[in-house]
Amino acid sequence: MRAETILNAALLAMLVAVALWAWTADEPFIITLVTKVAIFAIAGIGLNLALGLGGLVSLGHAAFFGIGGYAMGILASHAQSYTPLMEWPLLVEGTKSMPVIWLVAILAGALTALVIGALSLRTTGVYFIMITLAFGQMFYYFAISWPAYGGEDGLPIYVRNGFPGLNTLDPIQYFALCFAVMCAVLLLVARIAASPFGLALSGARQNPQRVQAVGLVPYRLFLVAFTISGAITALSGALYADLNRFVSPTMFSWQTSGEIMIFVILGGVGRLFGPVAGAALFIALEHVLGGLSEFWHIYLGALLLVVVLFARGGLIGLVAGREVAHD
């Protein structure tokens, strides 16, 4: 087995082990931290599909994360106040059911990503970076100035939404759910990476001219990748909102976009499990450094600088060697 495969398995085992230990030791806060790792990892896996496989440097993924969060917040708030979402032209009620909320989050995320992507992908390079950042900010300001769902103050949801057969209020059960979703998303992205689409997308990243010369349209490949990427990140936003039972415009902020990108970079760009390692490292740093100093972001910044300037493969690259897997 390759070093990276072993490392990936160890990562998953470690997450489960920490959660189980915290469960037996009755440390619900630690379980919440590990759940956060799984949820942030999903956001990062989503971005990594666009960034790692497609080479699209999106600084606007907070838009999708926030869309997912607000999909949950809006549906659940209508359900908890027993007011329909709309009555005309057809009656739409709120819901407290996670599967329904996830579906709505995924669809809303995909649709948003399709529109933002269709516009942003008309350009390349730095333009793309600036435009995605700007569209993310647009959602941020919209969420602040739209008072119906809490505006600047955000929107609390009193009881975590339900999943058939589980008690989601029990931290370990909610962790199990998020972990399972993360594994499913990993599997999905692994399949996509190995599919004809994955090959074409990877080719378009490395050499758009080559892809055109064999009769494929890079724009279309990028747009599809960006859409799937947005949908996955929106799903993680819905899970995150349910973890906190709270949504706020902060989910849309540029810092959120930056942090999702940090998960990918710390772990290793283009590596399937990179975002899992990156999110785990990020949460560990936040927990450990945040306990030492109120200003832990300075250390995070310094670490990020070191990784960018000297250790491009990220965490998995350091352990498993520079070569990115091809199969």
């Binding site: 350009t123 333009y127 970076i129 700007a134 100035s145 540029w254 990108m261 200003f295 600088l305």
Partner: protein, 305 residues
């Protein structure tokens, strides 16, 4: 709605626009010459504002505060260029984004560490406070009018610098061919540090000027940075003229959108929902403007093909 109110809003938009220009000009210059996307430009804006506020508090002089903003931001810019930025010129955009994002974290937390989390205040000096009466009997704050004039003067100075001076010639040459001017014996490394410090000084100066009408606090730079990006996308990358036109378009759209849209919506809905709809749409207006430009001219109004 009176015409006086409208003129006042147009002037506010203009004032906002010229300040955005100071930010965008540095960014677009740095991109045009060095091919670098600098997310930490907003931090330099913040450095200028804090330097001004601290100097004003210590000396009581607004003029000294402005000088301090220029010096501090230029020095911070040069320092960052020498230590980090110059390692990034040959890297891809992703590395540039990440490293300059890391710089934001370091600058923001560092500033919070030194100055604390509470905002500082920079007072408009007496000789610039109060308002003036413009032709047509329009009362307008003297300080804001001064900002417009200073901004336009800086823009004129920048155009003159690029069109007529030796440095300007090198900047233009650097945009078209990096290796060539190196071969001609120009010290590229020093030129780059100089341009970066110049861009930083402009950003810091804008931070100080705006700091007098808003509070000076950590995180003040990034929203302006993102607006400056919108300006550059609209104007076209690397073009100073594009930055000026884009900045004024964005300034006017933002200010007039917030002013006109709620009033427009009162024509066909009740006052409170009109206010809600109008201000929510106004918050999105400049991004919609950007989307429109992207549809018709993906490389911006003054960008190359």
């Amino acid at each position: 709605m009176s015409i006086v109110l409208l003129v006042e809003q147009v002037l506010n938009g203009l004032q906002f626009g010229v300040m955005l220009f100071l930010m965008a000009a540095g960014l677009t210059l740095i991109f045009g010459v060095m091919g670098l996307i600098n997310l930490a430009h907003g931090s330099l804006y913040m450095v200028g504002a804090f330097a001004a506020a601290a100097t004003a508090a210590a000396t009581g002089s607004f003029l000294l505060a402005l000088v301090a903003s220029l010096v501090a931001a230029a020095a911070a810019g040069a320092l960052v260029e020498l230590t980090v930025i110059r390692r990034l010129y040959d890297r891809d955009h992703l590395d540039q984004v990440l490293a300059t994002f890391a710089l934001i974290l370091i600058f923001s937390e560092g500033t919070r560490w030194v100055f604390g989390s509470f905002p500082l205040f920079l007072e408009v000096p007496d000789y610039l406070s109060g308002s003036v009466t413009l032709p047509g009997g329009i009362e307008y704050p003297l300080y804001r009018l001064t900002m417009i004039l200073i901004g336009l003067a800086v823009a004129a100075g920048l155009f003159a610098l690029i069109a007529h001076t030796r440095i300007g010639i090198r900047i233009r040459a650097g945009e078209s061919d990096r290796e060539m001017i190196g071969a001609l014996g120009v010290n590229i490394a020093r030129l780059y540090t100089l341009i970066f410090a110049l861009g930083a000084a402009l950003a810091g100066f804008a931070g100080a000027l705006i700091g007098a009408i808003q509070s000076v606090q950590v995180g003040m730079g990034e929203p302006v940075l993102i607006l400056a990006f919108v300006v550059i996308v609209i104007g076209g990358i690397g073009s100073i003229k594009g930055a000026l036109v884009g900045a004024i378009l964005v300034g006017l759209t933002d200010t007039l959108g917030g002013f006109l849209l709620p009033r427009l919506f009162t024509l066909f809905m009740d006052a409170s929902s009109a206010m809600t709809m109008g201000s929510a749409l106004a918050a999105m207006s400049i991004y919609l403007l950007m989307a429109g430009v992207l549809l018709f001219r993906p490389t911006g109004l003054f960008g190359g093909p």
